[in-house]
């Protein structure tokens, strides 16, 4: 029997009450986590990912260092309680390795690695809860964690997933939708409008690709605004806490983040 949940009903609502182009609720927490240099927890609807960044620091293994730039090392840990079915995944699980490789290759051209030769930047991803859009959450959280760690980036990287229901494009899919629809994840650099990642594991008709791809790129801009605001708020809070008495010349924190 086919699923009795309608992906997109006649009123234009999706199964969770969103419309086609509406993204799920995003919450961002940039508070300090232990000894990590930078950390971020992001929630897209019910998908929650925490990323901690260590580095740049001296590489543990000599053999893996590069003399002209830093090495990105991504490790992912999926919590057994993150999915409906409780299941322990080994760290060498092929899907997880692939996910890590996707994140690594997404950030390689964005992080200014050439500033830190012979060093290593460790990115530890903790998947706390999954409800679709895992890769997008991982990438967005990594961007934020790198920013809080003060690692120089060329730009934000904002990822979003999209799918097609018959001919209608949908954004930010839940697990239910992901299982049903052909979907892709796009990561964009919002200022330069460059795309650093497009990945697709299902078959999508080529005529539909353009629509959904352009839409996902536009959605990246929306997510960027949200991420930027979170970073700004965090910075304001930190600056305020740094010195409660003296007025800092950088009273307007926005100046720090002004777009070029």
């Amino acid at each position: 029997m086919s699923s009795r949940v309608e992906i997109l009903n006649d009123g234009g609502f999706r199964s969770d009450g969103r419309k086609q182009y509406e993204l799920r609720d995003i919450t961002i927490d940039l508070s300090q986590q232990g000894t990590a240099d930078g950390s971020a927890t992001i929630t897209h609807g019910l998908t929650q990912v925490m990323v901690t960044v260590f580095g740049p620091r001296e590489a543990k293994m000599r053999s893996q260092t590069l003399h002209d730039r830093a090495v990105l090392n991504v490790e992912i840990n999926v919590a057994p309680f993150s999915t409906g079915e409780r299941r322990k995944r080994s760290r060498a699980d092929r899907r997880i390795l692939e996910l890590a490789a996707a994140i690594e290759s997404t950030f390689e051209p964005v992080v200014q690695t050439s500033l830190y030769p012979r060093s290593q930047i460790d990115i530890y991803v903790q998947v706390l809860q999954q409800d679709g859009g895992l890769l997008q959450a991982c990438i967005n959280a990594t961007t934020l964690a790198l920013i809080t760690a003060g690692v120089p980036l060329l730009d934000f990287v904002c990822a979003v997933s999209g799918g097609v229901h018959s001919t209608e494009p949908l954004l930010d899919l839940t697990t239910l939708e992901e299982n049903d629809l052909p979907n892709l994840t796009v990561a964009v650099m919002p200022r330069t409008r460059k795309v650093t990642l497009v990945t697709m594991e299902t078959r999508l008709h080529v005529d539909r690709f353009r629509d959904i791809f352009e839409l996902a790129c536009a959605a990246g801009q929306t997510i960027h605004k949200e991420m930027k605001r979170a970073v700004k708020d965090r910075t304001v809070a930190l600056v305020g806490a740094m010195d409660a008495g003296a007025k800092h010349p950088l009273a307007d924190p926005d100046a720090m983040m002004e777009d070029r």
Binding site: D10, G11, G17, R18, E22, G84, E85, L215, T222
Partner: protein, 994 residues
């Protein structure tokens, strides 16, 4: 680009917006499910000129609601609960039931969970133009969203939360949206009426402060409507009884055994103790039915009412098979329901335990068993449960004897019997106030339920179709009976037609025009079409010419329907749903709008038309040297009828190019046919007659004649077969997973056993069914030198033993089952009639993609989609065939009636079946089958298919295949006013009065 926003979901509302539950899978694993939902304030209420909601849709509810109900003078909207849609769908669908309806999302989803067919009807209803229905997505509106409370059943939650809360919200919303203006009297506010038949829900609603008036039962509500007397009949029986059961029902004695619980059924089927299959009633004997199950070669026999246990034709049932010692042979007697049960009273249901009728039935069964001599026993069993009901609306007649009062003005409620037109169905008991008015009419009746205490199923009246015997009523009842969609095409569909309408022409040739892209210009070819007389939808044309190298170029040009019908448009969806054009004797129900079917796509002579061409290079021996496919533009030079083409071909004086090309084609076709026959193709026969209509106005048939077959028929047929086979090869090669093909499975050998036995015993002939070639050969020798029609008869009977051909998706069946048995072709499809068959349209699209003309639409890449479409098309195809056969039968009946008024109609007939008390005969000249029954005692030899009739010391024996003369009368059934054909023997013995 659409605006992209982020929905916010405050964590403080997580109680309402987030839901966690655990569920156990079939394998026993426990899975945690976490869902969220986003509540919004922009879910519109759908009421016209509402000050609080922004509306984009154009279909809105009127701002004052409906003012036509007696109890709600200030206007009202109706908000029905789930059960109303589940049990009263006919009421909702009635055009007389017109108040604006608010349909809650909760209700819609519950309907969807409970019954998909009803859900689909509901969806169609929402989309239809003549109903004012607004779907309110209450689960997404922040004020009306609810969660299930501890210990509350899902049903209660839906009732409480969604339905009652939404009703209350609506009433508040209306008063908020129209605030009183200072200094003016507050305008009357319409109310939202919660319509429910659930007593508990009603009481709770009243307690919760929904005003008493705004919660009402369906019956009470309908009583207040102006058209109540007609609408009340549409109420399903369940509406009045099941919720407030009366004492009488409970006290009644059970006539049928209870069904087993579903879980037991499924487990039984899985373990092989029970068998699942479609229930088939026996048209000759209403006390017998059968179920074909995979476990047995022969169908499982169900004898007697109790063992059939309330199964209705078409239901999927679970049967239990008895021990082999209890197996029986099918009855060899004709038992007519009306004759046996004519005295059963529709009203006295409470005494239905041991009355005369039951005794009479039992007697019939017992005598039958006692007489049984034949040894061919069949698995026998009983129905223990229903897996799925396949009830629909049935065309019926009211049985006038069941009426208590025939006073035409009587409006008292009466319980009457409706006799379905189909002999396969039981009588239906229904309650109506219009009974006297319905006598002599064809009416539509739906079965609601069949209690174990009631001998007959209970139903309700849906609508009247018109007077019996009137052509309109007969036609419509035919279409309904065979589920043919016959509504006129809607606006959305007609909008898909080219805007130029019938002035559309092929644009002048140019390199840039999109119509000419990749199209070959074949306008100069001598192309002609050959069709039956009066054909308007010409979808094929032909040409042939000699090539300089001695070979022959032959081409089949098919109307390029896929140029006009694009995938995923309303027109495409409608065509897919219709599946095929249905031809009745006096009417054609088109698959595509007439503009396309009979004009733009029809390859009319002397007009330029777009075509899809298959062009072969054939050797003079008709072997394919080369084949190519191309989109083209053609201009047919002439449209012939079969007869004209034949005359032209046979006229030696004509030597023009057109005639020559027909001769060339004919020559090739003869060779192609010979080749096909050698490969083992079957030459089948079906009783085909043609109705000669007097004139288009009166359309009274004057005579029935047999269809004539000319050489040119076979000419066209051969080339169409060749085109279909060539196309099938091409698309199968390009799209091995999703090609749309057609196949004809070889029939199982057991199907022929009876025919083989009869032929052997009666005529000493053998039928070799080992392969289609062998069968064709052995059919050829089944000849009676004195009786030319005998061979045709055997062919007809052999055809009935076969399976029917079907469309399929190449990826879903094994490669070795692709073959077409009847045509002896390893692969086949339908390509040549895209105007009237949807499968052809799909084949066109696939072929266009295969030659790189257009990319293939995404849906045709999906196996499941193609399968789904073809399943519908297969069903429609079957139904269309039956409908046109029934239409012919009706006209044959009319012709007979006209003739029998002038003279006694006596026709030659062949005996095709023998019964203990009668004969089944086939009248080949009229193409009808009939039954001759004898009331007196006759001797019956089942093993040799002979009956012996004693007549004054001299016995007359009649056996299967004997030629007899029958007297045919059309008798009007006194009870139901239904005309029916009655036959009696006139030679070798006059059986009137016997």
């Amino acid at each position: 680009m659409a605006e992209i926003t982020i929905r916010k979901r405050p964590r403080t509302e997580a109680v309402v917006t987030q839901r966690k539950f655990f569920k156990k899978t079939a394998r026993g694993k426990v899975i945690k499910v976490l869902r969220e939902r986003y509540l919004r304030d922009d879910v519109a209420c759908g009421i016209h000129s509402c000050g609080l909601c922004a509306h984009e849709a154009d279909v809105l509810l009127p701002s004052s609601g409906s003012l036509h109900h007696a109890s709600f003078g200030d206007g009202h909207f109706v908000l029905p609960d789930t059960n109303v849609f589940l049990s009263q769908m006919d009421l909702m669908e009635s055009p007389l039931f017109s108040p604006p309806i608010i349909l809650l999302q909760t209700v819609m989803e519950e309907v969807r969970h409970r019954s998909l067919p009803l859900y689909n009807r509901l969806k169609a209803l929402v989309k239809s133009d003549d109903k004012k229905i607004w779907t309110f997505y209450n689960e997404y509106r922040s004020e009306t969203a609810v969660i299930r409370e501890e210990g509350e059943s899902p049903n209660d939650r839906n009732d409480r939360g969604s339905i009652r809360k939404a009703t209350a919200w609506y009433n508040d919303h209306i008063s908020l949206a129209r605030p009183p203006v200072r200094g003016q009297a507050r305008p009357p506010l319409p109310t939202v009426v919660l319509l429910t038949d659930d007593v508990a829900n009603r009481q709770k609603g009243e307690r919760e402060g929904l005003t008493c008036m705004s919660v009402t039962s369906v019956r009470r509500y309908v009583e207040g409507l102006p058209e109540s007397s007609q609408l009340l009949d549409l109420l399903a029986a369940a509406g009045s009884d099941s919720i407030e059961p009366t004492q009488a029902v409970a006290a009644r004695q059970a006539l049928y055994p209870d069904y087993l619980p579903t879980a037991t059924l499924l487990a039984g089927i899985k373990s092989g103790q029970l068998h699942q299959g479609h229930f088939n009633a026996n048209a000759y004997n209403y006390l017998e039915g059968s179920v074909s199950v995979p476990a047995f070669e022969k169908p499982v026999l169900l004898i007697g009412r109790e063992h059939m246990n309330r199964a209705v034709q078409g239901d999927i049932v679970a049967v239990e098979v008895f021990d082999e010692k209890d197996w029986k042979a099918p009855a060899d007697e004709v038992v007519d329901q009306e004759a046996t049960l004519k005295n059963d009273d529709a009203d006295d249901s409470e005494e239905e335990g041991e009355d005369d009728e039951a005794l009479a039935e039992r007697k019939v069964l017992q005598t039958e068993l006692a007489k049984q001599t034949s040894t061919t026993k069949q698995p026998t069993g009983r129905v223990v449960g229903i897996v799925k009901r396949n009830w629909r609306s049935y065309v019926c007649h009211i049985d006038s004897t069941s009426l208590t009062s025939t006073n035409p003005t009587s409006l008292s409620q009466q319980t009457v019997f409706a006799t379905p037109v189909s002999r396969l169905l039981p009588r239906i008991r229904l309650r109506t106030r219009q009974a006297p008015a319905l006598i002599g009419q064809k009416i539509l009746v739906t079965i609601d339920r069949w209690e174990r205490t009631s001998r007959y199923p209970e139903g309700h009246f849906v609508r009247a179709l018109g007077k019996v015997q009137s052509k309109e009523a007969e036609q419509e009842s035919l279409l309904l009976e065979f589920d043919v969609p016959y509504r006129p095409f809607g606006k959305a569909i007609l909008d898909c037609l080219p805007p130029e309408g019938d002035r559309w022409v092929v644009p002048p040739k140019s390199a840039t025009d999109p119509n000419w892209r990749d199209r070959e210009d074949l306008r100069d070819l001598i192309i002609c079409s050959i069709d039956p007389p009066g054909c308007q939808d010409i979808d094929d044309a032909l040409h042939a010419r000699r090539l300089p190298n001695g070979n022959i170029e032959a081409g089949v040009h098919i109307a390029d329907v896929s140029h006009f019908v694009h995938p995923d448009t309303p027109m495409d969806h409608e065509a897919a749903a219709r599946g095929t054009t249905v031809y009745l004797v006096d009417k054609r129900i088109d698959m595509l709008p007439a503009l396309l079917g009979t004009n733009l796509c029809s390859l009319r002579p002397h007009v330029e038309r777009l075509a899809f061409s298959v062009i072969w290079e054939l050797s003079p021996e008709a072997e394919i040297v080369n084949v190519r496919f191309t989109k083209s533009v053609i201009a047919s030079k002439s449209a012939f009828t079969y007869e004209e083409a034949q005359i032209r071909k046979d006229d030696p004086k004509l030597t023009d190019e057109l005639t020559e090309s027909i001769r060339l084609l004919n020559d090739l076709a003869r060779k192609l046919k010979a080749g096909r026959m050698a490969a083992g193709a079957l030459n089948l026969a079906s009783p085909e007659v043609k109705i000669q209509l007097d004139s288009s106005e009166s359309s009274d048939p004057i005579d029935v004649e047999q269809k004539e077959l000319r050489e040119t028929n076979s000419l066209v047929e051969e080339f169409m077969l060749l085109a279909n086979i060539s196309v099938a090869r091409q698309i199968q090669e390009t799209f091995p997973q999703t090609a749309v093909l057609r196949r004809h499975l070889p029939p199982p050998k057991t199907n022929f056993e009876k025919l083989q036995d009869i032929l052997k015993k009666r005529r000493g002939m053998t039928l070799d069914v080992s392969s289609s070639g062998a069968l064709a050969a052995s059919l050829d020798v089944c000849v009676d030198p004195n009786e030319p029609a005998f061979n045709t008869l055997v062919r007809i009977m052999a055809t009935r033993c076969m399976l029917s051909a079907e469309y399929f998706c190449s990826g879903s069946v094994a490669r070795d089952t692709f073959g077409h048995y009847g045509l002896a072709s390893p692969i086949y499809t339908h390509f040549t009639s895209p105007i009237r068959r949807y499968a052809d349209v799909l084949a066109h699209r696939q072929l266009a993609a295969a030659i790189g003309y257009t990319p293939l639409h995404a849906s045709l890449h999906s196996k499941s989609h193609v399968e789904r479409v073809l399943e519908v098309v297969n069903k429609r195809h079957r139904m269309a065939q039956m409908a046109s056969r029934a239409s012919v039968e009706f006209y044959v009946g009319l012709a007979l009636k006209a003739r029998s008024e002038k003279e006694t109609v006596i026709e030659d007939a062949f005996v095709i079946r023998t019964f203990r008390n009668g004969l089944g005969v086939f009248v080949s000249r009229l193409g009808i089958e009939g039954l001759v029954t004898f009331k007196c005692e006759i001797q019956f030899d089942a093993d040799n298919y002979v009956i012996t009739i004693p007549s004054g010391g001299q016995d007359v024996s009649i056996a299967v295949f004997d030629k007899v003369k029958v007297m045919i009368e059309v008798e009007q059934d006194k009870n139901t006013q239904r005309g029916r054909v009655v036959m009696s023997l006139s030679h070798p013995i006059d059986s009137r009065g016997m």
